[in-house]
Amino acid sequence: MVISHALGARIKRREDPRLITGRAIYVDDLNFAGMVHVAIVRSPHAHATIRSIDTTAARRAPGVVAVWTGEDVKARCGPLPVGPRIKEMKAPKRFPLVIDGVVRHVGDPVAAVVATTMDAARDASDLVEVDYEPLPSVQDPEAALEPGAPILHQDLGTNVCFRMTYGGGNVEEAFAGADVVVKTRIVQQRLIPAAMETRGVVAQYKGGELTVWTSTQIPHVVKTTLAETVRLPEHEIHVIAPEVGGGFGSKLDVYGEEGLVAALALALGRPVKWIESRRENFIATIHGRGQIDYVELAAHHDGTVAGLRVRAIADLGAYSQLLTPGVPTNTGLMCCGCYRIPNAHAEVIGVFTNRTPTDAYRGAGRPEATFLIERAMDLLAAELKMDPVEVRRKNFIPPAAFPYKTPTGAVYDSGNYERALDKALERADYRALRDEQAKLRKQGRYLGIGIATYVEITGLGAVAGLSGGNWESATVRVEPTGKVTVLTGTSPHGQGEETTFAQIVSDRLGVPVEDVVVLHGDTRAVPHGVGTFGSRTTPVGGSAVYVAAEKVKDKAVQIAAHLLEAAPADISTDGARFTVRGSPERSVEFKDVARMAYKAYKLPAGMEPGLDVTHFFVPKERVFPFGTHLCVVEVDPDTGEVTFRRYIAVDDCGNILNPLLVAGQIHGGIVQGLAQAIYEGVTYDDEGQLLTGTFAEYVVPQATDVPAFELDHTVTPSPHNPLGAKGVGEAGTIGATPAVVNAILDALAPFGVKDLQMPITPRRVWEALEGNSASR
């Protein structure tokens, strides 16, 4: 494709003026006459039987309209979706409130109190008396696998949700014949997605239509699911994702509260609102990561990797949410990274524990995969006393090998891993950094240089847990005045596609970006859609826009040719005007073609009126962005504090539609990735109580905590979509965590420290240096 002035341009986000001036409308901004508010009573126990629920006092409290328990939900709601249908997977049903009398994590919803104000609802919710009989609970996923462990779901008879294996070649033989084997155990701690806007739902049943406003990444999936959950014909349901203040995967779900609030609106005949408090967000919205990975890498003396063995135990939490099993299975699929590893085997086990459910969180299984292979490569380099760069170089899949099928079954579309690595090394002046490191060590200062070369998978969607497939829809509608309306089935919530999709249309049709408006997140406005997740919006949703715009252009050319009495092949266009080649005086303006398309008295024979095309784009294959992140840190051996010195990211997301937006995605992604490395981590006590229950304990980095980022790119277009684009929403997160951890461990190499548990806090560094591992 040709990148025009519009595509690839550094255009500022058109979304931002309304966001930064406070004019955007979020769920909590909606208020309707007669609206009532919901507060949810949640379990304080990790595992308990509900002996009884006494709602008498709550019902009598001022302003209370209704109090629901599981009984009410059982009578009115069907189950919620429980994830992809993996073979022999055992997934329990889940409902908007607990209906079987057993709570399985702190935060499990037990009752709902509805009142005329939010304060009244919250006050009355304290009056709901729930008599619990605590049961033994299991917190650790490995403990949950042990015989005799408390079973969460008695009807399943096991805590194992699924087992999946990936791999090919002969791993046993590879290990037997290898010169060295390095092993590690990695704990991918749980993370809290911490979107700036918590979840929220407003529902109203009026005039035979149920309208649900919800802070979601997937309004169309919510609509289809709600039809089954609240038992209403789908065409009577209208779901709107208004402005959504971040998701990072935590809103890629159909949550119980969406069904609950909708069912309440139907039953009460009043508008109903529920806004999640920040405290609830920590226990009732999904967590990310939560995986224990046993990794073994076999290699020859020269650094050539012979085999990889991975056993991943995924902490699913108490239930399987919409895509829960799809996360650790991504780890199995992607664990070979950028390397040609002939023999690989990965076993992925999903385990229920008495904790908040986990599900997709920025990267969703690929950060875990990248981390384990990138750590293993550094361990191998240390074992062989090789430079980590050289070990990687030795094992890269070479450019000529694409498309390349890994033994775990992924088919990488395109790549040039060494080019990205070289660019990062050059930018960093790697040799000089190593010299500086050696010099500083003599002064008792500890510089660390960490490298992560990643490949990841984007353009996901074909998951059985979703009502949609791996496609995305787009409508490009040229209005009779020549202005353009784009409808996209993706649901951007901060990614900026109102800007980039307008650029695509501008590029194809030649109209100015200002003449294009992009609508999304409303199931009445946009007939079909899957949503925004898995870095799919641009490669899949953007490609749908691209093809629809192309089809519009073809039709416009035909109309113009007819009006100019020329053959379509003889028409040239600059977008604003169609001209007969060789006869510049014979031309017609784009807006006149648009008008004629609707006036329709002078169209080519057999042509339908209108200038409006809907296209469902189905990608042939998934696409695999890649890159190299290089991080330089200094570790203070007295306090254990880590200071960032430099951060260089060379990312390849294929063709770049807008460099400003790509940089924004990479910046945010890196911050979330380095946060996992040194700041963020969920801690529970042995009873399943969340110890990191507020932002005072759960440490999210701020502007002063992150380095300046030096960004660069290589461009390896994907052959699988017309934009040649690969998603970039998660790449930063995927590259950053191993780059930072590798840097810290590189700094600590003189002390013989080989592994540290994330988040690598000053305390953990100091303990490792003291040889004092009293850490949890």
Binding site: R279, D638, T639, G640, E641, Y679, T683, L691, T692, A696, E697, V699, P701, Q702, T704, D705, T761, P762, R763, W766, E767, E770, N772, A774, S775
Partner: protein, 292 residues
Amino acid sequence: MHVLLPRTLEEALEMKASAPPAVPIAGGTDLMVELNFDRTRPQAIMEISRLPELNVWRRENGTFSLGAGVPYSRIVRDLTEFRPLVEASRTVGSPQIRNRGTVGGNLGTSSPAGDALPVLAAYDAEVVLAKAGGKIRRLPFAQFMTGPKKNALAPDELILGTRWKVVRGPGSFSKIGTRNAMVIALASLCLVLDEDGRSVRVALGSVGPTILRAPDAESFAARAMETAGVWRDPFGPLPTRVIEEFGERVAAAAKPIDDVRGTAAYRRHACAVLAQRALRWALDDRKLTGAR
């Protein structure tokens, strides 16, 4: 809930006398968190941020008085002569929090993690309390703060401010947290040298039920500086071993606990590191200023 809106200090003290449970609110940076999380539901709150008497500072006879209502951002901007106080104030919250938060609030809350408190302890500050009828009490800081979130403030009193004898000499405030800013300290330390009294003062935050002084370490350092002649000659060498032992003695004064943010062992270690660094900075500063 009643909201009391006194216009003068006198009015405020009378209101407090007739409604002792009323909780004063100035910046609200602590109290509003408590209210939002429903940890406290006072019958009444009294808005004191506009009381002119609390928003002033004053120097007289070598003593400095700081009104309870002076926000941290003004301290950072205007009170640069008190370097440890400025450094502590700068680490309080975000710019917005510093525009609202006050030293009076730190005193009222009496959290061991209150950033300004180690500075007041190291300054040997007094806390000035008032009640209706013009009755004033002045309590040494150590007698004012009695435990975690506990102090000697009587129900009918308000905190007017704090005052301390200005001493000549370098000093610093430093802390270790889990990130750079807007964080509850794992350990904080204020060190002040008194050139005229030839004494060293150290106070520790976040490592005990109250702000802790380290008297043993203080007299050890002062004596060692005397022995080495460093008080007279700032360029005189102080043995490295002295600085290390000073750190160890400071750490020994800490009474830390394990919690979700950090372990007792790490906190104690952090005290030693902060103490050694603070002493080195102070000694270096004396070389620059010639201990004047």
